[in-house]
């Protein structure tokens, strides 16, 4: 609490405007202002400033309101957003797998068939070679001219 009555009065003048003051303080202030030109001038200047603030008139673009309302209407519409990139990547990967799997399986099957055929061929050749190796000896006894007669 200010001991200086003028400081107290000027504080109460501002406080009355900012937050309101108690009835006792208001009565004291009224009495002080009535007899103090300095504080009376302070009160009048402060009131003039507050009136001046309320007198400032800003121009608001009326078209701005319409633009804002258009933006709000757009935002409020049900969203048909394009899926995020990761979803497209996942879909593409799934399609790729779906297409590639039969191709891979087909290729694998063909490779296995070719391998089996190759193995069969090798086996046959080995058998032929073996036969070619052992048959002459056996047949020679049979076909030797005048051999066993």
């Amino acid at each position: 609490m200010q001991s200086d009555p003028h400081a107290r009065a000027q504080f109460l003048i501002d406080e009355a405007l900012a937050a309101g003051i108690a009835l006792d303080d208001e009565r004291w202030l009224d009495g002080h202002i009535e007899g103090c030109a300095e504080c009376s001038g302070y009160a009048e200047l402060t009131a003039q400033i507050v009136r001046g603030l309320n007198a400032l008139s800003f121009e608001a673009d009326p078209a701005m309101t319409a633009r804002v309302q258009d933006s709000l209407a757009l935002r409020a519409q049900p969203r048909y957003r394009t899926a995020p990139a990761w979803r497209w990547a996942a879909i593409a990967a799934a399609l790729l797998i779906a297409l590639a799997t039969p191709i891979y399986r087909n290729a694998t099957a063909r490779r296995r068939a070719a391998e089996m055929e190759r193995e069969d061929t090798l086996l046959l050749e080995r058998v032929k070679a073996r036969v070619a190796q052992t048959l002459p000896e056996a047949m020679e006894r049979l076909v030797r001219p005048g051999g066993d007669r």
């Binding site: 603030l53 800003f58 608001a60 933006s71």
Partner: protein, 197 residues
Amino acid sequence: MPFTEPAETEARRIARGLGRKDMALINQLVERYQYRLVRYLLYVMASRERVEDLVQETWLRVLDRGGQYDGRSRFEAWLFSIARNLAIDDLRKRQVASLDAPAADGENEAWAGEWTASDRSSPFLAAARSEDAVRLASALSALAPIYREALLLRFQEDLSLQEISGVVGAPVATISSRIHRGLGLLRSRWEGGSNAV
């Protein structure tokens, strides 16, 4: 049946409508509060630049987050708090000092220079309609935004100190201090201007 004040009922009605994303209600709110929202942002930004973008972002956020408004406070207090947060984010992106930097006298005077609008661009000067208003507008342009904001919300929006505290996120005592300080700065600049004549 308990008596409910019209203002409380209105706020609850707005809260219910925002929760349902009632577009008719939202458009009414835009028409009713647009001027005050623009004025608030002009006071904070001290420039028309970016104000329209911030106005639009504010209303979009009202639409998106309408469910968060519970109707316990006046709608304009919630609206200004959204606008304030967007303005602060915008100022930070442009690497300007915070609105809520400590209120040491010397610092605020220095920051006031950051947001001082030149006479040509000051929205306050553009709003002045008399010689006294011009003098006041010059003084207002030179204030730090935290003081302009407090003065606007108290004297033009007629919010209580508690409501302003909710908008700004500062204690009531701080708001009171800013109003006192803001009035003092305007008085000294006003008198300084009249003495200079």
